[in-house]
């Protein structure tokens, strides 16, 4: 597997560099606190309705739900890209508002501490070359050139995309683009990583690599929040699941094992279908043995 060659030491080097800035909070302290969140697109189409959520340092949280339940919107709020119509979002002990983010100091701090890997890598990889793409964030942070170059080198090596450094995005495959998108976020060494449907539209090999990477990053101290409806990887990538109903509210919260056995709940929030859930759950139970075997599932649904 792609990630096997990277030992934890190699991972720790590029990511552990800014350890001092992350030491303010101990593992288990709340990083993100969301209370009474409401959000509607164009002030008409609700996306989130009265959502409460707490993300603690060092944990892996999965946001589960059918398409259009509001989990992507929640991630965008957690990244300070959208702002709630009602309710509050507090990150690292400070409230995040549009006003606050106008403040350069606060914005810099927040942007460098929270990284967002978008579902659509095409939107995220917007620069002319891979190297420039990865340099984009650090350049905005005003880092010295040397540090930027060193970081880029490290992160290219870590994600095994060194040969792609001078390529243009249109020369990359979907999986390669995903790696570049992740590299462009990891290079800033954020404390919290937000993933939106990370495994969507990836081939099984890249999916498996990504799951390993997420686990590795979490082990290196990163907090992970992930929106997904891929139940097969859940057990590996989440300590805790938050399930959204189709009326944009939190329907349940708990460990992957408990939630995945609650067929009634999964059916109710439209995450599974009558005919398929038996297969899916069967696989999930064996997730430890078969977590990389996505092709297997695919063949079962044909």
């Amino acid at each position: 597997m792609a990630f096997d060659g990277v030992d934890s030491g190699a991972v720790a080097h590029p990511l552990g560099e800014d350890a001092s800035s992350t030491s303010e909070l101990a593992p288990g302290d709340p990083l993100f606190v969301v209370e009474g969140l409401r959000y509607a697109y164009l002030e008409r189409f609700p996306a989130l309705d009265d959502v409460d959520l707490e993300v603690r340092k060092g944990e892996k949280v999965a946001l589960l739900g059918a398409n259009g339940c509001g989990k992507s919107t929640l991630l965008k709020i957690l990244d300070g890209l959208l702002f709630p119509d009602a309710g509050t979002f507090t990150a690292f002990g400070e409230q995040v508002t549009e006003d606050n983010l106008e403040d350069e100091q606060f914005a810099m701090g927040f942007r460098s501490r929270v990284g967002f890997i978008f579902q659509n890598s095409d939107a995220q990889v917007f620069s002319p070359t891979v190297r420039e793409e990865i340099a984009f964030g650090p350049l905005q942070m005003g880092w010295p050139r040397e540090k930027i170059d060193r970081r880029i080198g490290d992160v290219l090596r870590m994600l095994e995309i060194e040969p792609l450094a001078e390529r243009a995005p249109f020369q990359l495959s979907g999986g390669e683009k995903k790696r570049v998108a992740i590299a462009s976020v990891l290079v800033m060494n954020p404390e919290v990583l937000l993933f939106d449907e990370p495994t969507a539209a990836l081939d099984p090999r890249t999916q498996a690599w990504l799951v390993e990477l997420i686990i590795e990053l979490n082990r290196a101290g990163k907090t992970i929040v992930m929106a997904t409806h891929d139940l097969d990887i859940l057990d590996a990538v989440a300590d805790r699941c938050v399930v959204f109903s189709e009326d944009h509210r939190v329907a349940a919260e708990g460990s992957p094992a408990t939630l995945l056995h609650d067929r009634e709940l999964l059916l109710r929030v439209n995450l599974i279908h009558d005919h398929t859930h038996v297969h899916r759950l069967g696989n999930v139970e064996e997730a430890h043995e078969h977590e990389h075997d996505a092709a297997h599932h695919a063949s079962q649904h044909v």
Partner: protein, 315 residues
């Protein structure tokens, strides 16, 4: 005088003369028109654009002479040569200049056949077609060297001035195109962008150009997908070309703009997420070396020689 006018009024204008537009605009799909939808042709032209872009990137990575010249130096030098080309007034001078571009292509490890073909097969063939009428006395009056027919006692035919003018235009276009092709084929386009940035083109323009270039390929794929899915749903024969064109331009363009806008919102978020606050910062850095100095000196000398020689030739 007045009898000349009367005679002149009776000569019909060839239809091809008043309707020539293609040669002024060799955009997108150029080539022989085959049976089939122009939309399909455009889309296959689009694939050609992509392939061309990728091929160009490969050539630009090779280790030839021009590839080693600093992009800023190259841009300035080629702009200078383009201006020189524009000022030249004699065909022989242009021929020398054109030969020089071929030599530069050879020392820069460009496939010469491709280089020559790209210039002569694509753009100037249309220039060639459009200049044909210009050789005749009814467009370019002057000394008639090849009388073709007589009209009211005066010969009508190809004029010396017309021939010279046509030759000048074709050679000038060929040389200009060669220069641009040389520049773009030997410079990876990101370096070209970076070079422009270093030459006082505002950063914001560079950022937008870079992004636009990047998204052309993405949107091109969207269009191809939309068209393919539309075609897959079409039962029976395609309707005629123009109608189909109306349909595609009207309907696809709307959906495309919607997609494009949604994409731009996402891109903006992706930029903001990584700290963008309206002021883009740039990455590239350049150094000027001996080869650059050599190239600049060479270009200046060449430009002086060309313009001086051109004056000596007269006109």
């Amino acid at each position: 005088m007045s009898d000349v006018t009367v005679r002149a009024e009776e000569v019909p204008t060839p239809q091809w003369l008043v309707t020539g537009e293609l040669a002024l605009c060799p955009c997108g799909c150029i080539g022989k028109r085959k049976k089939g939808s122009f939309v399909e042709k455009t889309l296959s032209g689009a694939v050609g654009v992509m392939r061309n872009a990728m091929f160009g990137e490969d050539v630009a990575q090779q280790h030839g002479f021009l590839q080693r010249v600093d992009p800023r130096v190259k841009i300035v030098a080629f702009l200078g040569l383009l201006i020189v080309t524009a000022f030249v007034r004699n065909i022989p001078t242009l021929v020398v200049l054109y030969a020089a571009t071929v030599v530069l292509a050879i020392v820069s490890a460009l496939p010469v056949g491709f280089f020559v073909k790209r210039v002569w097969l694509f753009i100037p063939i249309f220039t060639g077609i459009i200049v044909i009428p210009a050789m005749f006395s009814f467009i370019t009056p002057g000394t008639i060297v090849l009388p073709l027919w007589h009209w009211n006692g005066s010969p009508v035919g190809i004029t010396e001035q017309g021939l010279t003018s046509a030759g000048l235009l074709v050679m000038r276009v060929a040389t200009s195109v060669s220069l641009v092709v040389l520049l773009t084929l030997t410079t990876p386009w990101t370096k070209l962008l970076a070079g422009l940035r270093a030459l006082a083109v505002p950063r914001i323009f560079i950022l937008i150009i870079g992004m636009a270039y990047r998204y052309i390929f993405l949107l091109l794929n969207s269009v191809t997908d939309m068209y393919t899915s539309r075609k897959a749903r079409t039962v029976g024969n395609q309707r005629n070309d123009y109608k189909e064109g109306q349909r595609v331009v009207g309907a696809t363009a709307g959906a495309l703009f919607g997609k494009a806008h949604a994409l731009s919102e996402e891109v903006h978020m992706a930029m903001v997420s990584r700290g963008y606050a309206g002021d883009a910062k740039s990455y590239a850095a350049f150094t000027v070396g001996a080869i650059d100095v050599l190239f600049v000196v060479g270009c200046v000398v060449a430009a002086a020689l060309v313009l001086g020689g051109d004056r000596l030739l007269g006109v």
